[in-house]
């Protein structure tokens, strides 16, 4: 599955990019599995994605839990807890 990943705030800064297109192995079917897969890339990714509960996700612009299925998703975003208002 090919999917667009988006990064915001300090997630974007640490990774040094705001988005990328990735092709996922078929066994990656949930948000938490995707985060573990991303954490395995290198030390920087491990630092960002290796801390469960810190990073939030949205699937196709809707907030998503770590257990959410990513089947059929076009766009998945990762970001810190929001601080607007």
């Amino acid at each position: 599955m090919t999917i667009r990943l988006l990064y915001f705030a300090w997630v974007r800064e640490k990774l040094g990019r705001s988005e990328e297109i990735v092709t996922l192995p078929p066994e990656i079917t949930r948000v938490d599995a995707l985060m573990a897969w991303l954490a395995g890339r290198d030390d920087v990714h491990a630092d960002v994605f290796g801390r469960p509960g810190v990073i939030r996700a949205a699937i196709d612009q809707v907030h998503a839990q770590p257990s959410a299925s990513i089947a059929g998703a076009r766009e998945i975003a990762f970001f810190p807890p929001v601080t607007g208002g």
């Binding site: 612009q61 810190p80 601080t83 208002g85």
Partner: protein, 153 residues
């Protein structure tokens, strides 16, 4: 219902006038305006920059508004949130809730702000006058405020 994300400042009086123009069914308009404070973590703030998630921001604000309209009899509502660089004293967010009576308008305005704080994808980055700074951490008290509504308290 309307949401707007913009770099430009807003005029509260003009927004109320636009929301109520030609209508006589609105008996109460409650507005909340959030401003950038000049102090953060004991330091003097030089500037604040608001980042957001274009597309999801508007969608999430619309979902929050829809939820407010489902809970209270609102005649109209508006959420305006600014993005980009802001200075201490600048307006950052406006919430307007209009109803036939005041209680619904007061409660809906508080609800809209509490939900916006924990759900709308905005992130603040602060720069202090001494050059230090960084991304603002989320507050547990904001999550508590949102959960209060979920518990129906």
């Amino acid at each position: 219902m309307a949401v707007r994300v913009a770099t430009a400042d807003f005029d509260v009086s003009a927004e109320i006038a636009a929301l109520t123009a030609g209508r006589t069914d609105i008996g109460a308009v409650v507005t909340f305006t959030g401003l950038v404070r000049g102090e953060a973590h004991g330091k003097s703030l030089a500037s604040m920059t608001l980042e957001h998630y274009p597309g999801m921001t508007e969608a999430e604000l619309a979902r929050i508004e829809t939820e407010a309209h489902a809970r209270w009899p609102l005649q109209a509502s508006l959420i305006v949130h600014r993005i980009g660089p802001l200075a201490p004293g600048d307006a950052i967010v406006l919430v307007v809730a209009a109803s036939a009576h005041r209680h619904a308008a007061f409660e809906a305005a508080a609800f809209l702000m509490d939900y916006l704080k924990t759900r709308a994808p905005f992130w603040k980055k602060e720069t202090a006058t001494d050059g230090t700074g960084g991304w603002v951490d989320a507050r547990d008290s904001d999550t508590s405020a949102e959960q209060k509504w979920q518990a129906g308290q």
